[in-house]
């Protein structure tokens, strides 16, 4: 066991854990965060995604002694009580079915859009490829991402989220 300090959603936390512990368990069980969830423990599905220094990261396969940088979880996206445009688009588009995977969808999309505010359809498919959803809400996820992109480009929503 050793003391590790994490910067999560703007707040520092010190926890005493084995350095090989995966970040996911510390976020959930020690810090009480609920956005990142266990889906596979293998880095395959994206349920556990957090953003570390701008990079969408699978916390279920990230050892505590490899973590450096500021961690943002789903709970940390909203600023001053206002949802991030990505979260708002998810509500406007009514994306989730069960919603269990949507942490992975939202956090992956957030990192994608921060890097590339106006992705093409192909870039969305490629960038989101590793974020799985078993309710298969991919179509709505992609529409929501286009919504955010259209908003950031000052475009209207015409043709986005049809239906």
């Amino acid at each position: 066991m050793s003391a590790v300090t994490l910067l999560v959603n703007g707040t520092e936390h010190t926890v005493d854990v084995d350095p090989s512990t995966r970040l996911l368990y510390v976020l959930r069980n020690d810090l009480g965060l609920r956005g990142p969830r266990f889906g596979c423990g293998l880095g395959q599905c994206g349920a556990c995604t957090v953003i570390i220094d701008g990079v969408a990261t699978r916390s279920c396969v990230t050892r505590m002694d490899r973590v450096s940088g500021e961690i943002t979880t789903l709970e940390g996206l909203a600023k001053d009580g206002t949802l991030d445009p990505v979260q708002q688009a998810w509500i406007d588009e009514q994306v989730p079915q069960c919603g269990f995977c949507q942490n992975g969808q939202i956090m992956t999309a957030k990192a994608l859009l921060d890097e590339n505010p106006n992705p093409t359809d192909a870039e969305i498919r490629e960038g989101m490829s590793r974020a799985l959803c078993r309710c298969m809400t991919y179509y709505r996820v992609q529409l929501a991402i286009k919504r955010v992109a259209a908003g950031s480009q000052g475009r209207g929503m015409d043709g986005v989220g049809a239906g």
Binding site: R37, Q87, V95, P96, G99, C101, R134, C135, Y138
Partner: protein, 796 residues
Amino acid sequence: MTAFTKVPKAIEDILENETSRRGFLKTSGALVVSFGTASFAGTDALSAAEVGSAAARLQEAGPYPDPDFRQLDSWVAIHADNTATFFVGKTDCGQGTGTAFRQMMCDELDIAYESTSLVMGSTDVTPDQGGSGGSDGIQRDGWPMRRVAAEARRVLLEMASEQFGVPVDRLVVSNAVIALRSDPSTTATYAQLIGDRRFNVPLTGRDINAISGVADVKAVQDLRIVGQSPQRYDIPPKVDGSLIWAVDVTLPGMVHARNIRPPVVGATLRGFDESSVRDVPGVIRVVSEGNYLAVICEREEHAIAAARQLDVDWEEPASAPFPTSDELYAYMRSATPTSSADPRVVGNTEAALAGAAQVIEAEYDFPFQGHTAFGPAHALADPSDGQMTIYSNDMKSYGMRNGVAEFLGMPRDQVRVVWMEGPQAYGRTAADDAGFEAAYLAKAIGRPVRVQWMRDEETAWDTKGPAFTFRLRGGLDARGQLVAFEYDAQSADYNHVGYNEVETVLISQLIGTRLPRPNSGRGATPSELYAIPNRRETTQVVGLPRVWETPLRTGNLRDPGGPQVTFASESFIDELAAAAGADPVEFRLSLLNGATDDDSGFKRARSIATIRAAADAYGWDTRPSPKTRGAETILTGRGMAYSFRSETVVAEIAEVEVNRETGHVWVKRLVCAHDCGLVINPEGLRRTIEGGMMHSLSRALHEEVQFDTERVTSVDWVSYPSLRHEDTPERVDVVMVNGDPNPDRPDLPHYGAGEAVCKPLVAAVANAIYDATGVRLRRAPFRDERVLAALEAAGL
């Protein structure tokens, strides 16, 4: 309320409201509302039993008797702030049914949607409507919800009538405020009439589905909230991270457990060496009984490590539990059925086939597919005070409550299940393994135990949708009319898992509990209304060598049997259309236009309307399949399929691109025409339809459980691939058809939605691939290598 800390806000609020409501009753029973009208004679005061029961329920630690579904108060509560809470015995598997239930009840109660909340599926606070299953929540359970809300409105009107001294017909009601028709400034709010007090109104009905008060539900034309699309109330907390899911619940003193499964199916547990995990911190206990084995630790990551590290002595079984997945279909075709054939016969198929101008014959195969929940099975069980509370995402929470009580030998009213949100169920939690395991382990150690399965465990050991094999024959006459249809299906559905019965969950089987004989399982026949003069349809169930403790145990997977059967039957109809040189849509319409004596004229007319609507929305070009193709690498085509589930009719069209060099199939566009009668929430329905179609698209393109003769080898998202973002169609069109001949009729029913759309999709894709390539795929899924092999075999 410490027992309820960290449960979802909605549940916690309600539990507190419940408590205050009951607390009020307990201290001031005299304030119970009295009507003094003949229809309520004898019910104007709480009975001693009811007072006792209400008071008992105030005790935090239980017991937890069933809410009385024959009391209006079990369904509707009006609060002092003129809001209402509805209590329903359903669960929402992610299709927004909770929002739809609220809409239906708001309309009947005459209260704004925003002024209400809804509690679902917790066994001690919501009446038992069975939880979820069968896509019948709106179709069946929506009716009692409407009727009880209508009854609450009626009672409130009577109360206002008494207060104002005028007949009910001189009152108007809007948004939970009742006013004099003659003087709209004279009002009484629902809260003023009954806020925080009991209705104390009995309901009648032989069972919960038939429950009713005196009031009629509103005519369809008077519904205002039904038919609109309020946003789902559960989505914002799912998007901002504030929702507490079943997977998130923590309790003081809670510990973590992980299971250890037999490495070879059917292995016997000989023993384990507890010293092998001595170096893992916080090991509390290794628990075993029969072949069930689990390790419990203070911290979650240590439970995972200990479960992997524990040295266990397993004895391999004497015989193989099943054939390999490659040998499965040959095995099924040669196996002795466990059921009798009992064919459904119309006319004389043998004679008609003998006299047919053309006989077409084909065999189809469909694999075992997993529920493969995105989040593995999980539950937290709290054994405090000699009771058992299970925090669970079980879609059939009531069944689990009964099953766990029996499993642990506890009285039913000492067990409750608090339903919370979880990963999509689609039938998986009809056998809620983790809930039973958590309760068993919690009882064993006397502390709250949280169980969560690992990914390999969930993918390998969850319940499966059964594999099917099919043999079909069809006869066309000289004019290309279908005169005979013969259908033979075999389903590997022996010992089907049901409704959280004790013997069906894995821990129980591993411990050694056995039903006297396995559940029989079922095959299925096509759901269409084609007028075919001679038909013979046979379904049989076959078993695999190992019946118990097997990872190939079958359960209800999102329309049990439907995607399998419809893949075969609607692909074969397409084969017959092609043989007849007919357009696939026209061929189906001609079969629906014929007259038969089994007339289901209403549904037949709706089937025709739905198929036409799909074809119109797609812009269907009438011609036979396959399409004339050139030398291009990417071949395109379109295919359609139709089916129904219960009363809901669905027609789907898929447009595909097939890469002849790689075998890769991309479904570029999907169209669904959908008739489920009265639509409650169009935008919610649209997304449910999209999700259901895409789920079946995943089953069409990717999903196949693989196994050798010792174990399931599909253990993660690489060995059990699922649909991904890059598979997404670029366009999905949903057309909501109301095929009722008189859509203005006042009692237009609401049918179900969800599973119906899962049925035709696999066939629509196969038919589109045939249209593009001229190659018929008769085994799902259509993975690249399988498609490429079929194209190569056909010389493409």
